[in-house]
């Protein structure tokens, strides 16, 4: 047996295996909600599973703040670090079952993983856009994803699924394109950002803007990039994704036990953990994209165009909804999900809701929590069955 095939064998049977990203190019100009126009754009994407004959089994995965198109499988079978960000949920026999569905994941416009964004070339000046890249909104993403769906030849998605900022895109889809989404799965989501959410985002942005290497966003050509600021922004964000109890568990920090040595161990562990995560993130993410994404989050509020009435905003939606929250999520707490659920009920929309017990805070939506995955499986199986008839 050759080395390559033995490596291949190690890829689990419920994995989509080795996948290659693709690029969709759009030559028609794209006008954003703020009036800015991109003369053309491209979106990186991956697909898993097969599109069925009547093109009815497509599922769109919308990513959150720092996500991208590589949601499942490996880019390199030999390198486990190339695993997709939601691999535990997407694959044959997994909750989003690629035996049933044609799963599409993309990198959003404004991203930094190959889709047109601040690191792309601005054709007008033949230099990277940098901070000149127009401010995208969740609505812009949804409009660009609709163009992307046209490109793939998909009239309507069996489901659009997203956690956090991804869930907001799924909600916006259901409002803006009711005929093109049959199920919207909003996980660890919120109908808009609280003042506290915005405050955390603003601190993260200040860390980037005040980095000595930021240079008003024109750092791409320079040797030094605003790594410290981006790393600090990520550290702050990361803490808001965890829960207090979850962190105590992770760092073995029973701070009530006030033996000095234990205390210092916790300090050391927390420090090195945050440092590691901040640096790792800063090494692979773009600071301008981080600014764009957090601004898009801050501005998300589909009720705003409907007299601040979420019920009116959702009245046109015809999709069925599944809303899932996590008990220790304080970034988008269960109460925020319930606001969505109550508005959907008042709007007469089909909705189901589950609150999952978890110690892992907002990050739970990425984890393989048994009840969470059973809920997704039950819901997705029923969609798959409705496709067969």
């Amino acid at each position: 047996m050759s080395e390559a095939s033995s490596q291949q064998d190690q890829v689990a049977s419920d994995s989509v295996g080795v996948v290659a990203p693709q690029c969709a190019e759009f030559d028609e100009p794209f006008t954003m909600e703020n009036g800015a126009t991109l003369p053309f754009f491209q979106l990186m994407y991956e697909t898993y599973g097969r599109l069925n004959a009547d093109r009815s089994n497509a599922v769109l995965i919308c990513h959150a703040l720092s996500g991208h198109h590589h949601a499942a499988g490996y880019h390199d079978a030999d390198d486990r670090r190339t695993l997709g960000w939601w691999d535990n949920c997407i694959g044959p026999g997994k909750p989003i079952d690629t035996n049933d569905f044609y799963v599409v994941a993309l990198n959003n416009m404004g991203g930094c993983h190959g889709s047109t964004g601040p690191t792309s070339n601005n054709p007008e000046i033949n230099e990277p856009y940098g901070s000149d890249f127009p401010q995208v909104t969740v609505g812009d993403w949804v409009n660009s994803q609709a163009r992307f769906a046209d490109f793939l030849g998909i009239d309507s998605f069996a489901a659009i699924i997203g956690g956090s900022l991804g869930g907001m895109q799924a909600m916006q889809w259901a409002i803006d394109y009711p005929d093109r989404v049959r199920n919207a799965l909003l996980i660890a989501c919120a109908p808009n950002l609280s003042a506290q959410n915005i405050a955390f985002n603003e601190i993260a942005r200040q860390a980037i803007l005040k980095d000595r290497n930021f240079n008003e966003g024109r750092y791409l050509a320079a040797a030094a990039k605003p790594m410290d600021g981006l790393g600090t922004a990520r550290m702050l964000g990361h803490v808001t994704y965890l829960s207090a109890d979850g962190m105590d568990l992770k760092f073995g920090g029973d701070l009530k036990n006030d033996e000095a040595s234990d205390y210092h161990d916790v300090v050391g562990e927390v420090t090195s953990y945050l440092q590691y995560n901040g640096e790792k993130f800063a090494g692979m993410f773009d600071a301008n994209t981080y600014l764009l994404m957090t601004h898009a989050l801050d501005k998300f509020d589909p009720a705003r165009s409907f007299d601040n009435d979420l019920v009116s905003a959702l009245k046109n939606a015809t999709a069925r909804f599944l809303v899932v929250s996590f008990s220790t999520d304080w970034r988008f707490a269960p109460e925020r999900s319930l606001e969505i659920v109550d508005a959907l009920i008042s709007a007469g929309c089909d909705v189901s809701y589950a609150d999952i017990e978890s110690l892992s805070g907002h990050d739970s939506f990425l984890l393989e929590i048994p009840r969470y995955h059973r809920i997704l499986t039950s819901y997705m199986k029923q969609i798959a069955e409705s496709l067969v008839t």
């Binding site: 189901s352 589950a354 029923q382």
Partner: protein
């Protein structure tokens, strides 16, 4: 023989907007959707039952009924159903009030604690009744507010609740002339369709 669900289905108007409190695995809502084209939601707290609802495409909201129903707006449903759950609720009287705030009407079903078999076990055996309908021992029963048909009638009267219709099943799942006459003795399960006082 008619099942309890058949009676409830008969009591629900076509195309009604239904809220089913303690909806189990969604079987009743599923049948109501098929036979009466209703829309609506189930409310459930048990995890496996919630998954059961999702698997059959029934809308289900995870919620603890004992935590109150304030989140459901006044007059937001045509009918609110509470099937064999009332006796397990911490404040059944408040709940009936709430059901009639949220819904135009409500359907409540409960086991009759004055059924003669229950009386017999208590009278002759001197022990809390255990039966097919009340299968738990006193120490592990979820049924903390058992009542009789007579008790429930009294509550309806004192709460100024209008009894639109009432069915009482005997042990064979039938309503007979005898169960009509001696409902508090022969009735195993009671079905009430309630409305607000006119």
């Amino acid at each position: 023989m008619k099942q309890a669900d058949d009676i409830i289905i008969d009591l629900v108007n076509p195309n009604a907007r239904v809220l089913d409190l303690g909806c189990g695995d969604g079987d009743l809502l599923c049948r109501l959707r098929q036979t009466k084209s209703v829309t609506g939601y189930g409310v459930e707290i048990e995890h496996d039952r919630i998954e059961g609802c999702l698997a059959r495409g029934v809308n289900v909201i995870e919620h603890d009924i004992d935590a109150g129903l304030e989140r459901f707006p006044t007059n937001s449903f045509d009918i609110v159903i509470m099937n064999e759950t009332l006796q397990a609720i911490s404040e059944p009287r408040t709940l009936v009030r709430e059901m009639l705030r949220i819904g135009e009407e409500c359907i409540v079903t409960f086991p009759n604690f004055a059924y003669w078999q229950c009386r017999k076990q208590l009278f002759f055996g001197g022990r809390m009744p255990v039966s097919k309908h009340l299968p738990n021992e006193w120490y592990d029963t979820p049924n903390i507010h058992l009542c009789t048909i007579h008790d429930f009638d009294m509550m309806c009267a004192s709460e100024n609740v209008r009894v639109i219709s009432r069915y009482v099943f005997n042990q064979n799942g039938r309503q007979t002339i005898a169960t009509r006459m001696f409902r508090n003795v022969l009735g195993v399960t009671a079905f009430y369709r309630l409305g607000r006082a006119s």
